[in-house]
């Protein structure tokens, strides 16, 4: 493998002001905090927790209809099935029957109407998993089928929406388009995507004393589980505690969705007085829980001879599914990223949040941003093909400027734009121009195989668009032996958040990482935490943890100065030691002495992101604290007889600011890119005309596997970059942005399809995902063939 990486280059020490550094300091490529547990199989996921006495297992009974009224329901056979202890329907929910994250349109169990095939209608608790799942199939439900809307375009026609349509506009798009030297219209279509976290949705609810409840939940948002469960059970929030040590992947799919699982387990636990575990198997998980929204985006654009966009109008329609869930914010983010890295002076973006009778779509890495950028990149590519210019040139003439042309459609001035530098660097390091020429010559002689190349940029806004969510808390406990337990509101889903935040505390207190234990996310330790989402995990929790560690450090400093009779500025923490005036003692010694002098060694930290301010009604302001940037250059080859395609080489240059942990960040970039490539190539969600999702297991839904990796994959983190904003150690968020580097794969395939046409200006009609079927369709259209 010719992976050229710069990990080694970025080891600790380059920014150290003093020679000695603690183990696992900020900036070092430290392994994941649970790495040893993972390789030993001793990391505990929710399903691995030793089962409490009397545990029952739950299963859902689900709707077989996409849209129907429930005329009657006979559950007597379910109740009589062996091992069944309890069966619940909507009327058994003690509180409001709803777990809607934003608005109350998500029943936990369907009432008199079902709105998607697979919707939970009732739930069973039984003595074994098998008994519960078998019993759940025995229901006799009488449905009166109603008309089902199964795709966003039909929904748009019928004006079936989960939320009102929205427009974001600046200048006069229609006038600018009308007056432009060139005009184009087109449609970008991109499919949805299943999160396919390897660990499925799961929750265990355990009744404790006095009616209170403890839950283990695989969730990105323990606080939300606490609130939803309390509401559904008619309890107060104080009566419910939720813990999550780690998830086996989440990718947004465990932001709002786990509430359904947790509420159901909790209701059954409360009813039976016994602990209840609900784990969805893979098929149930894919059928019952939400995914990435698919989008159909029409556009109209006016541009000049160089391809510079003068005016543009988008019309986005997304499949939100049966309820609103997080679709409002997802679609807002799609609108905010319909510019990608390009200045759109006169712009109008319409967004329709379509209601369909399919599972309610939800968060997935990028949260609408990828779909907005997908449409935008197609516009730019279409312009380039129309003008017969290299798409990279058209991309470049549209880039945001640094001093002018630097205000987004939503009114935020971009202060940290480095996209031109990144793209220049990548263009040079990939020999983009030479390779494009060589590919053209090769394609001219190759009738069956065609190659294509594309270099695409990414600019992604960091922060929750809902301003109030941009807050975090942390708890740092120092024990008398000088070791530390660290807790914060963030959750670990594999992204390395825990190790990064621990590195921040190690650096702040100047102690080795091995002296710090990360403890499970727990609503009783840090309350009211936001979801770990929006890429903001380390930005928010790193800052909160540093705040807590600094409080303790200040107390220790004050104590040391007083105790040893020196000035506070003569107290220095350095590499597991503390220098006090002329004396040196270990961190543990100082801590113990402070304890004896009755100094508090525990502190809560807090952080709220500064500068952001955004008006939801006008969709303008500063929703983002800063932007993350990157670019990818992908080369592909397609087989024009079968539509099969593969990447042959990928180069990525990505900006993580001053990385807290370059190994973790590199992993995020690689994994995010491959996930984005999967979204746009092999991962296809397909519903039959009855509205049944037929791609509900890895046998029919194909995520990338090891052989899908490009044989030549070169990933580099941008050198000497630092966040211009005052983020935690000047790092940048890295969770979501790399996913959109996958757009380069789609455009490279598009480039290869274009090479099939006799018309040099042909813009391929390729929809995403670029499955062999879709590629073949596009090739045939490009060749002017009709399909037999």
């Amino acid at each position: 493998m010719r992976a050229e990486r710069e990990l080694e280059l970025r080891k600790a020490g380059d920014d150290a002001s003093d020679a000695s550094r603690v183990d696992g300091a900020v900036g070092t490529a430290t392994p994941h905090d649970s790495a040893v547990l993972h390789v030993n199989g001793r990391a505990t996921y929710t399903d691995d927790i030793p089962e409490p006495r009397g545990l029952l297992h739950a299963a859902f009974g689900v709707s077989t209809e996409a849209h129907a009224r429930i005329r009657g329901m006979d559950l007597s056979r379910v109740e009589a099935a062996p091992g069944v202890v309890a069966v619940i329907t909507a009327s058994d929910v003690p509180g409001p029957n709803n777990y809607g994250a934003v608005i109350a349109d998500d029943p936990i169990l369907a009432e008199d109407e079902v709105v998607y095939a697979g919707q939970p209608v009732f739930a069973v608790a039984a003595t074994t998993v098998d008994a519960a799942r078998r019993a759940a199939r025995l229901a006799d439900i009488d449905y009166e089928p109603l008309e089902a809307i199964l795709d966003p375009e039909t929904a748009l026609e019928r004006e079936s929406f989960v939320l009102p349509s929205t427009t974001l506009a600046r200048g006069d798009a229609d006038m600018a388009i009308a007056n432009a030297p060139h005009r184009l219209t087109g449609t970008a279509r991109v499919g949805g995507q299943d999160q396919f976290y390897l660990e499925g949705q799961i929750s265990i609810a355990i009744p404790r004393e006095g009616g209170d409840l403890f839950l283990y939940s695989s969730t990105q948002h323990p606080g939300e589980i606490q609130h939803s469960v309390a509401k559904a059970l008619g309890l107060a929030q104080k009566d419910v505690t939720v813990e999550c040590r780690r998830m086996g992947g989440a990718f947004g799919g465990k932001e709002s969705q786990p509430a359904l699982i947790a509420c159901t387990a909790a209701i059954l636990a409360q009813r039976t007085g016994r602990p209840v575990k609900l784990r969805l198997d893979r098929d149930a998980d894919m059928i019952i829980t939400g995914k990435r929204h698919d989008f159909v985006s029409h556009y109209e654009v006016g541009f000049d001879d160089t391809g510079r966009i003068l005016g543009i109008r988008y019309n986005h329609a997304s499949r939100c599914g049966a309820s609103a869930d997080l679709s409002g914010a997802v679609n807002d983010r799609a609108m905010f990223h319909s510019d990608n890295a390009y200045f759109l002076e006169h712009v109008a973006i319409d967004s329709h949040r379509c209601k369909t009778h399919t599972v309610s779509n939800t968060a997935f890495r990028g949260f609408g941003g990828p779909q907005g950028m997908f449409a935008c990149e197609q516009v730019v590519d279409d312009i380039a093909r129309h003008l017969g210019r290299d798409p990279l040139d058209v991309r470049r003439v549209n880039f945001y400027g640094t001093d002018s042309r630097n205000v987004t459609p939503y009114g935020q001035t971009i202060e940290d734009n480095i996209i031109a530098e990144i793209v220049d660097q990548l263009e040079a390091s990939t020999d983009y121009r030479d390779r494009r020429r060589e590919i053209e010559a090769w394609n001219a002689k190759s009738p069956v195989l065609k190659r294509g190349i594309a270099l695409t940029p990414v600019k992604f806004g960091i922060s929750f668009t809902a301003t109030h969510l941009n807050q975090a808390g942390a708890l740092v406990n120092v024990y008398t032996d000088g070791t530390v337990q660290l807790n914060h509101g963030g959750t670990e889903m594999g992204q390395g958040l825990f190790v990064k935040v621990a590195q921040v505390v190690a650096e702040t207190l100047q102690i080795d990482l091995s002296r710090i234990r990360c403890t499970a996310s727990d609503t009783s330790k840090v309350p009211n935490a936001s979801a770990t989402a929006a890429s903001a995990g380390s930005d928010l929790n790193g800052m909160a943890a540093r705040n807590a560690a600094e409080k303790i450090k200040r107390r220790l400093t004050g104590f040391a100065a007083q105790h040893y009779g020196c000035d506070e500025h003569e107290v220095r923490f350095d590499n597991n030691e503390v220098h006090v005036g002329g004396e040196t003692l270990s961190f543990a010694e100082l801590v113990h002495a402070a304890y004896m002098a009755r100094v508090s060694l525990s502190a809560q930290g807090f952080y709220k992101t500064p500068k952001i301010d955004y008006d939801k009604t006008t969709l303008t302001g500063r929703p983002f604290y800063y932007f993350a940037y990157g670019a990818a250059c992908t080369e592909v080859v397609i087989d024009t007889l079968t539509g099969e395609n593969r990447m042959t080489r990928v180069d990525i240059l990505h900006d993580c600011g001053r990385s807290l942990n370059p190994a973790v960040d590199l992993g995020q970039v690689e994994g995010g890119f491959i996930q984005g490539a999967g979204w746009l190539t092999t991962e296809e969600l397909w519903w039959n005309p009855r509205g049944d999702l037929k791609t509900h297991a890895p046998a029919t839904y194909k995520i990338p596997c090891a052989s899908d990796l490009p044989p030549d994959f070169r990933v580099t983190l941008l050198e000497s970059s630092e966040n211009r904003e005052d983020t935690i150690y000047k790092s940048k968020a890295v969770g979501e942005p790399p996913l959109m580097l996958g757009l380069s794969v789609f455009h490279a395939i598009r480039d290869a399809v274009a090479a099939c046409s006799a018309d040099p200006k042909h813009a391929p009609e390729l929809e995403a995902p670029a499955t062999p079927e879709h590629v073949l369709d596009a090739v045939m259209t490009a060749r002017g063939d009709t399909r037999v």
């Binding site: 399903d47 998830m247 090891a706 990796l709």
Partner: protein, 161 residues
């Protein structure tokens, strides 16, 4: 439900239990014996999270019945290390950052060990091909492939020492 008595040697210890004939090996390992390092990712023989060794060969334990393991020798991820000393493949997965959420890791490691037992010096293409039966949603595989390469180097060095 009738049961069948089986004796399976798991991580070096003989375990005799009465099991239902339909019990899957993965359920036997996780639920009956408590070896929860073997994960269930897909319930349908696709993802590889449940890979263990049966008589030294990798097997998806959700695709095998416990009764089929009667009289055989099973190694799970918990039995791979030699006491506190990690197997070279485990070391490499940690050092090469070949894991993120870690859910695929045990199955991935058990697969990789079988590969290296069969072919001590696999080239990159052989590693990829072998690992196609193990899905990872997090890492993008690059570090996993590097880890298997690194482990191969370490194991050959140890053999030659």
């Amino acid at each position: 439900m009738s049961t069948v008595d089986i004796t399976v040697t798991v991580n070096g210890r003989a375990q005799t239990r009465a099991v239902e004939p339909r019990l899957l090996l993965v359920e036997f390992l996780r639920e009956t014996l408590g070896f929860t390092g073997t994960h269930v990712g897909c319930d349908s023989c696709q993802c590889g999270a449940c890979v263990v060794h049966v008589d030294g060969k990798s097997v998806k334990s959700c695709a095998m019945l416990a009764v089929q393991a009667d009289g055989r020798d099973v190694t799970t991820i918990e039995g791979l290390a030699d006491g506190d000393e990690l197997h070279p493949v485990q070391v490499a997965f940690r050092e090469q950052h070949a894991l993120q959420c870690g859910f695929c890791t045990p199955g991935m490691i058990m697969s990789a060990v079988d590969l290296l037992n069969r072919d001590p010096e696999p080239d990159e293409a052989a590693i990829r091909l072998w690992l196609n039966g193990n899905l990872c949603r997090c890492t993008g595989y690059q570090n996993i492939i590097r880890a298997v390469e690194a482990a191969g180097v370490a194991m050959r060095a140890a053999d030659n020492a």
